[in-house]
Amino acid sequence: MFFEDSVMMSRLLTSLTLIFHVIFATVGVGIPIMISIAEFIGIKKNDRHLQLLARRWTRGMTVTIAVGVVTGTAIGLQLSLLWPNFMRLAGNVIALPLFMEVFAFFFEAIFLGIYLYTWDRFKKPIYHWFLSIPIIIGSTLSAFFITTVNSFMNTPRGFEMDGGNVTNINPLEAMFNPATPTKVFHVVASAYLTSAAILATIAAIIILFRKGSEYHTKALKLTVTATFIFAIMTAIAGDLSAKFLAEHQPEKLAAGEWHFETEVGADLILFGSLNEENEVENAIRIPKALSFLAYGDFNAEVEGLNETPADEQPPLWIHYMFDLMVSIGFYMLGISALYLLFWKVKKWNEENKWLLWAIAAGGPLSMLAIEFGWIFAEEGRQPWILRGIMTVAEGATTSDHVGLMFILFIGLYTVLGAGCLVVLRKMFKDHPAEAEFESRYPEAAATKEVDE
């Protein structure tokens, strides 16, 4: 039955691992850049608080990286364990970036090791900051490479099919396929956004519950400013992704937008529901906005789902995934802009309770947007594993027992997730920032008291 169906269970297990991995991967891509910014400003302005901030973020990141590495190793192996037919075919064409991802990560891991243990070993602090650059390059490249693989699954290029065999292979063309630019841009921007938003959440919660100090106020200013900038980048990248879909993967856009018939000046449908006749009800309609989203022109023609054979249409529920992701995107943009406004207008208190709560919600919401975005992107490719070439059912393992493995991995991720939370909590609860500040920089802490 359901549980014995190895294709179904392989899909579920892959989703489970990826949904778990991407939490840590996202943080692993985005936090290094936040650390680097904090350390740089800290050194330039000789601000001990920001330097301490960089230190404490790095320490937290070591734990999430550990989980990122082990779940990444899991998905790397599972690609072969669960999708042997797919890997046998795709491996011929797309092995290059998969291989390079490991190098990028290796590079990152080495410098992270050095960065972590050399805070006070250089005479000039800026030398230590230089070490953060290879970490950023490594982790962002790692996201780049793996995203090219996923892009390849959406728009396979760089080879020809000759019977069951692949010929005429061009690894670079496969890597730089039409989906790559927008996808990489959107994935990287959203990872930066999410990391900034999560760090803002932490600062906001501490100010709300523990009457944070100057340290937390500075942390909040830095992280929300970053959130604002990255939210703009993410929205631009998302818009470009939609334009990419309209051109190269119209069935995904059509299913996501419930756009059933090809038409000019297509409306954008927000939320709503479908009745028995597949008609849209209770939705908000924005006239002609879909044409604009897809082509930057309110009267452009947008291809509808009717052009795709029925057995090649993605499921329609991905509509909600898309809408939730976009709503969260605008929420992040709005809330960070509001904070900046309150901060610049002297009369208003940017640390008022409501605003802090709204910012606190931003981190978890952004992470949800990442998940919704991926589910939209991956379900929107159904039924294909390699669009137009191999279906998911053809790619899967024939081995029994995938169901059993699914249970095993649920157990594993529960343990890892819980362990990670417990350790992070303990790490920062046992060493509050104020205490660490005083023990690490006694001079700075002393002068501050005189000032006040």
């Binding site: 990286i65 590495v69 082990v70 192996l77 364990l81 046998r88 092995a95 670079l172 992070l424």
Partner: protein
């Protein structure tokens, strides 16, 4: 030399690298736990954690590099091993995941937590046991291909003396390599009490290692006479391996030149591992994949080799930097930094 030979050599080198660094790491986890239950942890655990903290991630990367590389160079191996190894592979993933993350949890949050250290120590022995199954399977006779796909014959696997001798060899080698390294490291750190303890471990684990190697050879001659014959043709490689074993043992026994002793250990395993690998060819998986039937297309192979060389040019300097900062910086080793 065809590019498939370059490919397999490069991958084998990486697997060899993993064998050494992972053994050090796996064994150290076991010794740390063992020292804790025998109340000797104050003697060596400081030493172990100073070595492990900066390098644990690098170890994992060696492994990922190997399996991503083998799927890239020999896509057929994804098909056969992927289907056959679903259960052992998943178990290995779970063990690796528990080990990696709990190491970080222990190190950054719960110093000296008993449960975490136990998990860390136990997985150190279980992982080599489960990974070594892959090598066993590659000898053929444990996999069946039918119209429905590829299945692993668990009955054969669990009743085969060869399979158990490989597991035994994997575990003792881990303990042997690790204790030999720790002996060298303790000496570098001028930590006499730790040195006395780990040197004892090293001497202890040397005889099971050589016994397990012999047993594995005998079991191989039963299980796969053809491979055994090819190994005999390469007798000089195994002979060199034994010679280096003697050198290492002698140096540790007289208590001199621990650095050279560990280098001898590395050569011991280098020759044994490459002797095994070379005699295994042309098969990657008997009888389904040979290196020429399973290899990827020429374009991809050449691209991968190019990238590999470029990558090495990037990585080797970074690795040297890491080692100079931590492994060979006498002050750091002694715990002064």
């Amino acid at each position: 030399m065809g590019y498939e030979y370059i490919g397999i050599t490069v991958l084998w080198l990486f697997l060899y690298g993993y064998l050494i660094v992972a053994s050090i790491d796996f064994g150290a986890g076991f010794f740390a736990y063992y020292a804790k239950i025998t109340k000797k942890d104050h003697i060596i655990n400081q030493l172990i954690s100073r070595y492990l903290s900066p390098v644990w991630e690098v170890t994992n990367v060696f492994f990922v590099f190997f399996f991503v590389g083998i799927v890239g160079f020999f896509p057929d191996s994804a098909y056969y091993y992927g289907q056959a190894l679903l259960i052992p592979g998943s178990i290995a993933i779970v063990l690796l995941a528990i080990r990696g993350s709990f190491y970080a949890f222990e190190n950054y949050g719960f110093k000296n937590n008993h449960l975490y250290m136990f998990l860390y120590g136990a997985t150190g022995l279980l992982i080599p046991a489960s990974l070594s199954t892959t090598l066993t399977i590659s000898e053929g006779g444990f996999i069946e291909e039918t119209a429905n796909g590829v299945t692993l014959l668990y009955g054969e696997l669990f009743t085969s003396p060869y399979s158990w001798s490989v597991v035994f060899l994997a575990i003792v080698s881990v303990l042997y390599i690790s204790s030999m390294f720790l002996t060298y490291y303790a000496n570098r750190a001028n930590d006499h009490s730790a040195l006395a303890l780990v040197r004892k471990y090293a001497l202890f684990w040397s005889s099971p290692t050589i016994i397990a190697s012999m047993t594995t050879f005998i079991a191989l001659s039963q299980h796969n006479p053809e491979h055994f014959q090819k190994a005999i043709d390469l007798w000089w490689m195994f002979g060199l391996s034994v010679a280096f074993f003697m050198i290492a043992l002698f140096l540790v026994y007289v208590g001199k030149y621990y650095g050279w002793a560990f280098i001898a250990v590395m050569f011991q395993f280098f020759f044994a591992f490459f002797g095994y690998g070379a005699s295994h060819l042309p098969y990657i998986l008997q009888p389904y994949i040979t290196i020429s039937s399973g290899v990827t297309n020429e374009t991809m192979a050449i691209t991968l080799i190019t990238v590999f060389i470029a990558g090495l040019l990037l990585l080797v300097p970074s690795l040297i930097l890491l080692m100079r900062l931590f492994l060979f910086d006498a002050e750091y080793v002694k715990g002064k930094k």
